[in-house]
């Protein structure tokens, strides 16, 4: 993950993925993303770090396991192993709308144009677009639809409420 698409621009990825159970003393400095298991086991120590903390969820892990910790996490990384695997869409939705997570939800994996609109409506706000794709061109997908029939996590009022006159 070199570049992240966020708020319409490409920014450098400031986070380091920590994938193994390194000893706490040998973790890199700066903002780190740890797998869920490692977070749950070591959070007492991790929160003492002088850095932001992120958690990566496999797409078969229950976001509710983070429910008590969301105030201490700045980033949740979700995985789309193939563009047809939409499990992380439910994870994003639960994090954003059920659990009230206010930090960054980042989509990684097979992230490309034709699924990004769905991701955003489920609460994803940062996209590690596939390196072989033009991320800014992919962002055009966000404008494909003006309205939504469903309540969504991107702040848009659903059609049913606009019809009612809830402006």
């Amino acid at each position: 993950m070199d570049k992240i698409l966020k708020d319409g621009v490409l920014i450098d990825n400031e986070w380091t993925d920590v994938t193994g159970y390194e000893a706490l003393s040998s973790l890199p400095s700066g903002d780190i993303v740890v797998p869920l298991d490692q977070w749950l086991e070591h959070r007492a120590d991790l929160v003492k770090r002088n850095s932001r903390l992120g958690v990566r969820l496999r797409n078969d892990e229950d976001p509710a396991r983070l429910a008590d910790d969301l105030g201490r996490i700045a980033l949740v990384v979700l995985e789309f192993p193939s563009f047809g695997d939409g499990r992380a869409l439910s994870q994003a939705n639960l994090l954003r709308r059920r659990l009230g997570f206010e930090g960054e939800i980042r989509a990684t994996g097979d992230v490309q144009r034709d699924q990004m609109n769905d991701m955003r409506r489920c609460g994803v706000d940062a996209f590690a677009v596939r390196p072989d794709r033009d991320a800014l061109a992919a962002a055009e997908a966000f404008d494909d639809f003006t309205y939504s029939y469903q309540p969504t996590a991107d702040g848009r009022l659903p059609i049913s409420r606009i019809r009612r006159g809830d402006a």
């Binding site: 695997d85 869409l89 939705n93 029939y149 049913s160």
Partner: protein, 550 residues
């Protein structure tokens, strides 16, 4: 019927523009076929044996005459002059070009039609029983709820990339005319002891490789919770449905592997959090949708038209058709009319562009300008005055659309099969046509009584062969076709899955095998009133197997 407002129009127009862009990106190579395929499927575009196939949604089977005329025009302009009505209340075109599909979609949008989510691993067309709003035994019209579900499921961002396709059906009363037992979610309108109307919710039905009958997950769901409950089921499915094996990815497998109690527990845990939230339906919301399906301006008529009685007496051919194709209606003096598309002249469910235009004209003249599509690939006029039946029948005779075989052996449900479908392992249409020829004689046909016969050209069971009283499955044996025979299926309230009789039959022997089965039925029934299914359930398959295999 439902009328689009500016939001619906904009959604459909933007979808057309989106797909136009996706087609362009495919044609210039920016998208590979693997990347484009799920996108085109979500717009109803299949690549079939001879050409692309385009599946157009007919939400809950309801069409206005101007929409049917547009479908005729599309058949003429972009296809080979005909269309095919499917078992899920859609219409299919077999010969469009990919680079013309965006134009077809634009034309459909002009009459409030679309191809949205008619394929792909997403929520498909929500179907209803074809007598919605007019059935004598109806508890409540399911169509307003179908429209609510349609909008809720359209471009639902969380459920657009499911493990597999998802099909919902809604029925308006006790009689299951929508094959609820074989849907991923079946909803039946019911009345509880307090007299309130709500939904019985069933989950996990389906056919294909592993046929299963849906199980009740909730006996009574109050109406206001319809969407939040559906969403909880979809969320559990999206998160837990298998993605490792395409043949084990439907929700029926999830229910089978975890058990309905566990699935209910998971669904209702999610539902607890959302039931009173943004998806809760207020009375005004439901009333708003009901208003679109208010009854047409029925005249006040006597329950039995006297002119009709005389016509029935004096015209035996008309009487025969009336006895078969005319269905009782809740409003005195009216009737529903089945228009059989199983004429034996063309493939079951096929209609030419001229026939479509003529049917649209008849709808305007005799049925408040509306036409319905049912699950048997037939059409229906729902609101015909009894006094018009004779004139309507004469017009249908002129169009070759008056075959009185509703619910009989030759009212065959058939998939397109290997003549058209790239998934097929055998042809289905020639077997259907052969059977229709063999059983042309109406006296013999009626003597055989009520009988459903379904022919699928492969294990995917698009013609629901497990749900037919007699089912035929075409398979492939060393590059040649072979037909398996199944007996005893049903898609009504007494749903049952047909059982294979034994070894398959060659293409020139399958019709003979069906004749053998029917011979046993005629010999062993306890009277003409006992149906084939009743005899089969009474005797089991032994007598049939003995006749078939000696």
């Amino acid at each position: 019927m439902y009328q689009y407002d500016r939001f619906d129009h904009q959604m459909v127009r933007e979808r057309v523009a989106q797909f136009r862009g996706q087609v362009a990106r495919r044609l210039n190579g920016e998208l590979t076929e693997d990347e484009f395929k799920p996108l085109r499927l979500r717009n109803g575009v299949y690549l079939q044996l001879h050409a692309y196939m385009l599946r157009v949604a007919i939400p809950y089977g309801l069409l206005a005459s101007r929409q049917l005329r547009k479908l005729a025009h599309i058949a003429r302009r972009y296809d080979k002059g005909y269309g095919h009505f499917s078992t899920r209340q859609n219409i299919q075109y077999n010969w469009p070009r990919l680079d013309e599909v965006p134009d077809i979609l634009a034309e459909l949008a002009e009459v409030e039609m679309h191809t949205i989510q008619t394929s792909g691993n997403c929520i498909r067309n929500t179907t209803a029983d074809h007598l919605a709003g007019v059935a004598v035994d109806e508890i409540e019209d399911p169509r307003p709820y179908c429209e609510l579900v349609r909008q809720w499921s359209t471009f639902h961002p969380e459920f657009n990339w499911l493990p597999r396709k998802f099909k919902i059906a809604i029925s308006g009363g006790a009689q299951d005319r929508a094959a609820l037992a074989y849907h991923d979610i079946g909803l039946r309108l019911v009345k509880n002891d307090a007299g309130e109307i709500g939904f019985e919710v069933m989950v996990g039905g389906g056919l294909g490789r592993t046929p299963m009958i849906a199980k009740t997950i909730r006996e009574f769901l109050p109406k206001q919770h319809l969407l939040s409950y559906l969403e909880a089921i979809l969320r559990v499915y999206n998160m837990l449905g298998r993605r490792d094996n395409i043949f084990k990815a439907r929700i029926k497998i999830l229910v089978h592997e975890h058990g309905i109690e566990k699935i209910r527990e998971l669904v209702e845990a999610d539902w607890e959090a959302t039931r009173d939230g943004a998806l809760a339906l207020r009375d005004e919301d439901i009333a708003g949708f009901k208003a679109f399906f208010a009854p047409p301006p029925y005249e006040t008529l006597p329950a039995n038209d006297s002119g009709l009685a005389q016509q029935l007496e004096s015209d035996p051919a008309f009487a025969r058709w009336h006895g078969n194709a005319v269905i009782a209606h809740r409003v005195p003096g009216y009737a529903a009319v089945d228009i059989s598309l199983k004429t034996g002249v063309q493939a079951p469910g096929d209609v030419t562009d001229d026939q479509m235009d003529a049917i649209a004209d008849l709808a305007d003249r005799y049925s408040f300008g509306q036409i319905r599509v049912n699950h048997r690939q037939n059409l229906l006029f729902a609101d015909v005055r009894q006094s018009d039946l004779h004139a309507l029948w004469q017009a249908l005779v002129d169009l070759d659309l008056a075959t009185p075989n509703n619910g009989k052996l030759t009212d065959i449900i058939s998939c397109p099969g290997m003549d058209f479908c790239s998934l097929a392992t055998a042809r289905s249409i020639p077997v259907a046509l052969d059977l229709q020829r063999r059983f042309e004689d109406l006296d013999h046909l009626y003597d055989l009584g009520d009988l459903t016969l379904n022919i699928s050209g492969c294990i995917n069971a698009c013609a629901h062969h497990h749900a037919g009283n007699i089912g035929i499955l075409g398979v492939n044996k060393k590059g040649e076709e072979l037909y398996q025979l199944l007996l005893g299926g049903s898609s009504r309230n007494d749903a049952s899955i047909g059982a294979i009789t034994g070894p398959g039959f060659a293409p020139d022997a399958i019709v003979g095998a069906v004749e053998d089965v029917l011979a046993v039925y005629l010999e062993r029934r306890e009277g003409p009133e006992e149906t084939f299914l009743e005899v089969y359930r009474r005797l089991g398959d032994q007598p049939f197997k003995e006749r078939l295999y000696g």
